[in-house]
Subunit: 97 residues, 2 copies
DNA sequence: ATAATTTGGTTTATAAAATAAACTAATCTA
DNA sequence: TAGATTAGTTTATTTTATAAACCAAATTAT
């Protein structure tokens, strides 16, 4: 009937992060922060969770002299996102039986 | 960019309850319990939250001698559900800009 | 008849999650 | 060189989800 919703993706901020990374393939921490309106602390925690799950990679590099954290979606992350959307449909479609 | 997701609906169980009520317009507590696979306790709590928000009504009646709790969606609930789906789309569509 | 079981829940306690506040460290600017 | 800004992380707090424990009535078995 209802397919389970991946709890890692069923979160407003983490879903927004994944959505951004699907669209832009790679994004810097401050950009994600600006686009999502999240606080840096919250974003840091959620990025770490997605990274720990293998849904995104986090590269810590430099942009000139300043630190620069770049996030990218992984194939696993893309797969999980697609599965999540499919699962969501089981909640959104009107059942006829 | 991203539209906020009504936290009352952005919950696996509450979303399932709302989904059932949209499809069947009216449903008994044990039926919802069976369809969602939720425990009675969890279901009771989430039904109460939806009821407190005015998204559903809860009628406590009897079926023969046994108590019977009937849930129905309200116009407000339907509206909120539709708004939630629209908001979700802002996370699921691939952005081109 | 009464003891055990089932039905239909509610209340309460616990575990997990989201979020913000506080903090660190380096760089830029006045 | 003092203050402000950037780029985050860590930690504490609040909120939420969930299950366990509980209650009451009805049904079934002994």
């Amino acid at each position: 009937m209802f397919q389970p919703l991946d709890p890692l993706l069923h979160s407003e901020l983490r879903l927004a992060i994944m959505s951004l990374l699907i669209s832009s393939d790679e994004a810097e921490f401050p950009y994600i922060k600006e686009q999502t309106g999240a606080t840096a602390g919250n974003l840091s925690v959620q990025v770490e969770k997605l990274s720990a799950a293998g849904y995104i990679t986090v590269e810590k590099t430099f942009k000139g002299k300043r630190p620069c954290t770049i996030c990218r979606i992984t194939p696993d992350g893309l797969k999980a996102f697609e599965t999540y959307i499919e699962a969501l449909k089981s909640y959104l479609e009107v059942k006829t039986n």
